[in-house]
Protein backbone atom coordinates (compact mmCIF):
# COMPACT_ATOMS: atom_id res chain seq x y z
CA UNK A 1 0.00 0.00 0.00
CA UNK A 2 2.97 2.25 0.61
CA UNK A 3 3.90 1.81 -3.04
CA UNK A 4 2.96 4.79 -5.10
CA UNK A 5 1.68 4.35 -8.59
CA UNK A 6 2.16 7.24 -10.99
CA UNK A 7 0.50 7.84 -14.32
CA UNK A 8 3.88 7.76 -16.08
CA UNK A 9 4.55 4.23 -14.81
CA UNK A 10 1.46 2.75 -16.39
CA UNK A 11 1.63 1.12 -19.80
CA UNK A 12 -1.03 -0.40 -22.01
CA UNK A 13 -1.42 -4.16 -21.45
CA UNK A 14 0.17 -3.85 -18.03
CA UNK A 15 -1.31 -6.28 -15.55
CA UNK A 16 -2.98 -5.08 -12.37
CA UNK A 17 -1.42 -7.14 -9.55
CA UNK A 18 -3.94 -9.96 -9.09
CA UNK A 19 -5.70 -10.49 -5.78
CA UNK A 20 -6.52 -14.02 -4.69
CA UNK A 21 -9.19 -14.45 -2.04
CA UNK A 22 -9.86 -17.65 -0.17
CA UNK A 23 -13.57 -18.10 0.38
CA UNK A 24 -15.48 -20.04 3.02
CA UNK A 25 -18.85 -20.24 4.69
CA UNK A 26 -17.25 -18.25 7.51
CA UNK A 27 -16.41 -15.45 5.04
CA UNK A 28 -19.98 -15.46 3.74
CA UNK A 29 -21.32 -15.19 7.29
CA UNK A 30 -18.89 -12.38 8.15
CA UNK A 31 -19.96 -10.61 4.97
CA UNK A 32 -23.65 -11.04 5.83
CA UNK A 33 -23.10 -9.40 9.22
CA UNK A 34 -20.95 -6.58 7.88
CA UNK A 35 -23.05 -5.76 4.84
CA UNK A 36 -26.52 -6.44 6.25
CA UNK A 37 -27.38 -8.92 3.52
CA UNK A 38 -28.51 -12.13 5.21
CA UNK A 39 -29.63 -13.99 2.10
CA UNK A 40 -28.94 -17.66 3.01
CA UNK A 41 -28.01 -18.43 -0.62
CA UNK A 42 -24.50 -17.37 0.39
CA UNK A 43 -23.93 -19.52 3.50
CA UNK A 44 -26.58 -22.27 3.62
CA UNK A 45 -25.82 -25.05 1.13
CA UNK A 46 -29.18 -26.81 1.64
CA UNK A 47 -31.06 -23.58 1.01
CA UNK A 48 -28.94 -22.77 -2.06
CA UNK A 49 -29.66 -26.22 -3.49
CA UNK A 50 -33.39 -25.72 -2.91
CA UNK A 51 -33.03 -22.65 -5.15
CA UNK A 52 -31.58 -24.82 -7.95
CA UNK A 53 -28.00 -23.70 -7.30
CA UNK A 54 -25.13 -26.23 -7.27
CA UNK A 55 -23.83 -24.93 -3.92
CA UNK A 56 -23.83 -21.78 -1.80
CA UNK A 57 -22.41 -18.94 -3.87
CA UNK A 58 -20.43 -15.79 -3.09
CA UNK A 59 -22.56 -12.63 -2.86
CA UNK A 60 -22.16 -10.51 -6.00
CA UNK A 61 -21.50 -7.43 -3.94
CA UNK A 62 -18.64 -9.20 -2.18
CA UNK A 63 -17.15 -10.01 -5.58
CA UNK A 64 -17.37 -6.30 -6.39
CA UNK A 65 -15.72 -5.44 -3.06
CA UNK A 66 -12.81 -7.77 -3.88
CA UNK A 67 -12.35 -6.20 -7.32
CA UNK A 68 -12.36 -2.74 -5.75
CA UNK A 69 -9.83 -3.92 -3.16
CA UNK A 70 -7.52 -5.07 -5.95
CA UNK A 71 -7.84 -1.65 -7.58
CA UNK A 72 -7.29 0.42 -4.41
CA UNK A 73 -4.30 -1.78 -3.46
CA UNK A 74 -2.81 -1.04 -6.88
CA UNK A 75 -3.48 2.70 -7.17
CA UNK A 76 -2.47 3.58 -3.59
CA UNK A 77 -3.78 6.42 -1.45
CA UNK A 78 -3.19 9.06 -4.13
CA UNK A 79 -5.17 7.22 -6.76
CA UNK A 80 -8.95 7.28 -7.03
CA UNK A 81 -11.50 5.01 -8.68
CA UNK A 82 -13.55 7.37 -10.85
CA UNK A 83 -15.75 4.69 -12.29
CA UNK A 84 -16.17 0.95 -12.06
CA UNK A 85 -18.63 -1.19 -13.91
CA UNK A 86 -19.11 -4.87 -13.19
CA UNK A 87 -21.39 -7.46 -14.71
CA UNK A 88 -22.09 -10.43 -12.46
CA UNK A 89 -22.27 -13.38 -14.83
CA UNK A 90 -20.95 -16.68 -13.50
CA UNK A 91 -21.16 -17.90 -9.93
CA UNK A 92 -18.30 -18.24 -7.48
CA UNK A 93 -18.80 -21.31 -5.30
CA UNK A 94 -18.21 -20.82 -1.58
CA UNK A 95 -15.00 -22.65 -0.66
CA UNK A 96 -13.24 -22.02 -3.95
CA UNK A 97 -10.55 -19.41 -4.40
CA UNK A 98 -11.64 -16.28 -6.21
CA UNK A 99 -8.99 -14.51 -8.25
CA UNK A 100 -9.40 -10.85 -9.23
CA UNK A 101 -7.48 -9.69 -12.26
CA UNK A 102 -7.10 -6.58 -14.34
CA UNK A 103 -5.29 -5.25 -17.37
CA UNK A 104 -4.62 -1.71 -18.55
CA UNK A 105 -6.41 -1.01 -21.82
CA UNK A 106 -6.04 2.76 -22.09
CA UNK A 107 -4.49 5.89 -20.63
CA UNK A 108 -5.32 9.51 -21.37
CA UNK A 109 -5.56 12.96 -19.86
CA UNK A 110 -9.04 14.43 -19.62
CA UNK A 111 -10.24 17.54 -17.77
CA UNK A 112 -6.84 17.81 -16.10
CA UNK A 113 -6.97 14.26 -14.75
CA UNK A 114 -4.55 11.46 -15.60
CA UNK A 115 -6.87 8.56 -16.30
CA UNK A 116 -6.16 4.88 -16.74
CA UNK A 117 -8.74 2.49 -18.06
CA UNK A 118 -8.64 -1.17 -17.11
CA UNK A 119 -10.44 -4.30 -18.01
CA UNK A 120 -11.29 -6.15 -14.78
CA UNK A 121 -12.56 -9.63 -14.12
CA UNK A 122 -12.65 -12.54 -11.68
CA UNK A 123 -11.69 -16.15 -12.25
CA UNK A 124 -12.44 -19.39 -10.47
CA UNK A 125 -9.58 -21.86 -9.77
CA UNK A 126 -10.08 -23.40 -13.24
CA UNK A 127 -9.41 -20.00 -14.82
CA UNK A 128 -12.99 -19.49 -15.93
CA UNK A 129 -14.01 -15.84 -16.05
CA UNK A 130 -17.00 -14.91 -13.91
CA UNK A 131 -17.61 -11.24 -13.08
CA UNK A 132 -16.27 -8.82 -15.67
CA UNK A 133 -16.20 -5.13 -16.35
CA UNK A 134 -14.12 -2.01 -16.66
CA UNK A 135 -12.64 0.56 -14.32
CA UNK A 136 -11.36 4.09 -14.81
CA UNK A 137 -8.92 5.35 -12.20
CA UNK A 138 -7.16 8.69 -11.84
CA UNK A 139 -3.51 8.73 -10.85
CA UNK A 140 -1.02 11.35 -9.72
CA UNK A 141 1.78 12.59 -11.98
CA UNK A 142 5.44 12.26 -11.14
CA UNK A 143 6.15 15.84 -12.15
Amino acid sequence: MASKLFYEDVEINMEVPPLTKETSTRLSVLWAGASGDYDPTHYDVEYAKSRALPHSIINGRLIVAFIMEMMTDWIGSRGWINKLQCELRGMHIVGENLICRGKVVGKYIKDGQQLVECEIWTEDPQGERKARGTAVVSLPCRS
Binding site: L30, A34, V64, R89
Partner: protein, 154 residues
Amino acid sequence: MGEESLITEEMRASIGKVFQIAVNVVERGMLKRYVEAIGDTNPLWQDEEYARKTEYGGIIAPPSLVATIYMRGGSMRNSMPFEMPLKRGVDSGAEWEFYKPIRVGDVIVTLRKWTNFYEKKGRLGPMIFYIGELSFINQRGELVAIERDTHATY
Protein backbone atom coordinates in the same frame (compact mmCIF):
# COMPACT_ATOMS: atom_id res chain seq x y z
CA MET B 1 -45.58 -4.34 -25.07
CA GLY B 2 -49.34 -4.19 -25.60
CA GLU B 3 -52.02 -5.40 -23.23
CA GLU B 4 -50.05 -8.44 -22.08
CA SER B 5 -47.42 -6.30 -20.41
CA LEU B 6 -46.60 -7.28 -16.83
CA ILE B 7 -45.39 -3.77 -16.10
CA THR B 8 -48.14 -2.02 -14.16
CA GLU B 9 -49.36 1.57 -14.35
CA GLU B 10 -48.17 2.00 -10.78
CA MET B 11 -44.65 1.01 -11.86
CA ARG B 12 -44.69 3.28 -14.88
CA ALA B 13 -45.82 6.18 -12.69
CA SER B 14 -42.76 5.74 -10.47
CA ILE B 15 -40.25 6.20 -13.30
CA GLY B 16 -38.16 9.32 -12.80
CA LYS B 17 -39.32 9.94 -9.23
CA VAL B 18 -36.59 10.31 -6.62
CA PHE B 19 -37.17 8.96 -3.13
CA GLN B 20 -35.07 8.40 -0.04
CA ILE B 21 -34.42 4.77 0.91
CA ALA B 22 -31.72 4.95 3.59
CA VAL B 23 -29.82 7.14 6.02
CA ASN B 24 -26.60 5.69 7.41
CA VAL B 25 -24.16 7.10 9.94
CA VAL B 26 -20.70 5.82 9.02
CA GLU B 27 -19.28 4.63 12.32
CA ARG B 28 -15.73 3.55 12.97
CA GLY B 29 -16.87 0.16 14.31
CA MET B 30 -19.08 -0.52 11.30
CA LEU B 31 -16.18 0.31 9.01
CA LYS B 32 -13.79 -1.89 10.99
CA ARG B 33 -16.24 -4.81 10.87
CA TYR B 34 -16.71 -4.29 7.16
CA VAL B 35 -13.03 -4.24 6.15
CA GLU B 36 -12.20 -7.09 8.51
CA ALA B 37 -15.00 -9.16 6.99
CA ILE B 38 -13.71 -8.74 3.45
CA GLY B 39 -10.09 -9.03 4.61
CA ASP B 40 -9.03 -5.70 3.10
CA THR B 41 -5.92 -4.66 5.03
CA ASN B 42 -5.39 -1.28 3.34
CA PRO B 43 -4.31 1.06 6.19
CA LEU B 44 -6.29 3.92 4.64
CA TRP B 45 -9.49 2.32 6.01
CA GLN B 46 -8.10 1.43 9.45
CA ASP B 47 -4.86 3.08 10.54
CA GLU B 48 -5.56 6.60 11.77
CA GLU B 49 -1.86 7.48 11.99
CA TYR B 50 -1.18 6.35 8.42
CA ALA B 51 -4.34 7.96 7.07
CA ARG B 52 -3.55 11.31 8.74
CA LYS B 53 -0.43 11.62 6.58
CA THR B 54 -2.37 11.07 3.36
CA GLU B 55 -4.15 13.85 1.53
CA TYR B 56 -7.41 12.74 3.16
CA GLY B 57 -6.06 13.61 6.61
CA GLY B 58 -7.85 10.65 8.20
CA ILE B 59 -9.52 7.32 7.70
CA ILE B 60 -11.89 7.00 4.77
CA ALA B 61 -14.23 4.18 3.78
CA PRO B 62 -13.31 1.78 0.97
CA PRO B 63 -15.30 2.56 -2.17
CA SER B 64 -17.17 -0.76 -1.98
CA LEU B 65 -18.99 0.35 1.18
CA VAL B 66 -21.66 2.01 -0.97
CA ALA B 67 -22.36 -1.35 -2.61
CA THR B 68 -23.52 -2.94 0.66
CA ILE B 69 -27.16 -3.49 1.41
CA TYR B 70 -27.10 -1.04 4.34
CA MET B 71 -26.16 1.74 1.99
CA ARG B 72 -28.60 0.50 -0.64
CA GLY B 73 -31.59 0.74 1.66
CA GLY B 74 -32.05 -2.91 2.61
CA SER B 75 -33.68 -5.42 0.33
CA MET B 76 -34.62 -4.47 -3.23
CA ARG B 77 -38.25 -4.40 -2.13
CA ASN B 78 -37.57 -1.15 -0.25
CA SER B 79 -36.52 0.30 -3.56
CA MET B 80 -39.84 -0.63 -5.10
CA PRO B 81 -42.82 1.40 -3.85
CA PHE B 82 -45.15 -0.75 -5.91
CA GLU B 83 -46.29 -4.36 -6.12
CA MET B 84 -43.63 -6.38 -7.95
CA PRO B 85 -45.23 -8.59 -10.62
CA LEU B 86 -42.39 -11.15 -10.37
CA LYS B 87 -40.85 -11.88 -7.00
CA ARG B 88 -37.58 -13.69 -7.55
CA GLY B 89 -34.63 -11.45 -8.24
CA VAL B 90 -31.04 -11.59 -9.33
CA ASP B 91 -28.33 -8.97 -9.08
CA SER B 92 -26.86 -8.62 -12.55
CA GLY B 93 -24.24 -6.05 -11.70
CA ALA B 94 -23.88 -2.32 -11.63
CA GLU B 95 -21.78 0.69 -12.42
CA TRP B 96 -20.42 3.11 -9.85
CA GLU B 97 -19.01 6.60 -10.09
CA PHE B 98 -17.12 7.97 -7.11
CA TYR B 99 -16.83 11.69 -6.45
CA LYS B 100 -15.91 12.25 -2.78
CA PRO B 101 -14.47 10.15 0.01
CA ILE B 102 -16.74 8.88 2.79
CA ARG B 103 -15.31 9.61 6.23
CA VAL B 104 -16.03 8.31 9.70
CA GLY B 105 -18.92 10.33 11.11
CA ASP B 106 -20.46 11.08 7.74
CA VAL B 107 -24.21 10.77 7.42
CA ILE B 108 -25.03 9.34 4.02
CA VAL B 109 -28.50 9.62 2.54
CA THR B 110 -29.35 7.20 -0.25
CA LEU B 111 -31.80 8.28 -2.93
CA ARG B 112 -33.40 5.89 -5.40
CA LYS B 113 -34.66 6.59 -8.86
CA TRP B 114 -35.97 4.19 -11.49
CA THR B 115 -35.18 5.13 -15.07
CA ASN B 116 -36.67 2.27 -17.04
CA PHE B 117 -38.40 -1.10 -16.83
CA TYR B 118 -38.52 -3.64 -19.61
CA GLU B 119 -39.71 -7.17 -20.19
CA LYS B 120 -38.04 -10.12 -21.83
CA LYS B 121 -38.75 -13.80 -22.25
CA GLY B 122 -36.02 -15.68 -20.43
CA ARG B 123 -35.04 -19.29 -19.94
CA LEU B 124 -37.14 -19.29 -16.77
CA GLY B 125 -40.18 -17.58 -18.29
CA PRO B 126 -41.10 -13.92 -18.36
CA MET B 127 -38.61 -11.50 -16.85
CA ILE B 128 -38.78 -7.87 -15.83
CA PHE B 129 -35.62 -5.77 -15.75
CA TYR B 130 -35.44 -2.75 -13.48
CA ILE B 131 -32.93 -0.10 -14.54
CA GLY B 132 -32.21 2.53 -11.93
CA GLU B 133 -29.88 4.78 -10.10
CA LEU B 134 -28.85 5.34 -6.49
CA SER B 135 -27.32 8.61 -5.30
CA PHE B 136 -25.30 8.82 -2.11
CA ILE B 137 -25.27 12.27 -0.52
CA ASN B 138 -23.36 13.34 2.59
CA GLN B 139 -24.39 15.72 5.39
CA ARG B 140 -22.84 18.64 3.50
CA GLY B 141 -25.11 17.97 0.55
CA GLU B 142 -22.24 16.68 -1.57
CA LEU B 143 -22.83 13.85 -4.01
CA VAL B 144 -20.27 11.22 -2.96
CA ALA B 145 -21.15 8.42 -5.36
CA ILE B 146 -23.77 7.10 -7.71
CA GLU B 147 -24.66 3.54 -8.63
CA ARG B 148 -26.48 2.59 -11.80
CA ASP B 149 -27.96 -0.84 -11.29
CA THR B 150 -29.91 -3.45 -13.16
CA HIS B 151 -32.13 -5.80 -11.24
CA ALA B 152 -33.64 -8.78 -13.02
CA THR B 153 -36.77 -10.50 -11.69
CA TYR B 154 -38.33 -13.72 -12.91
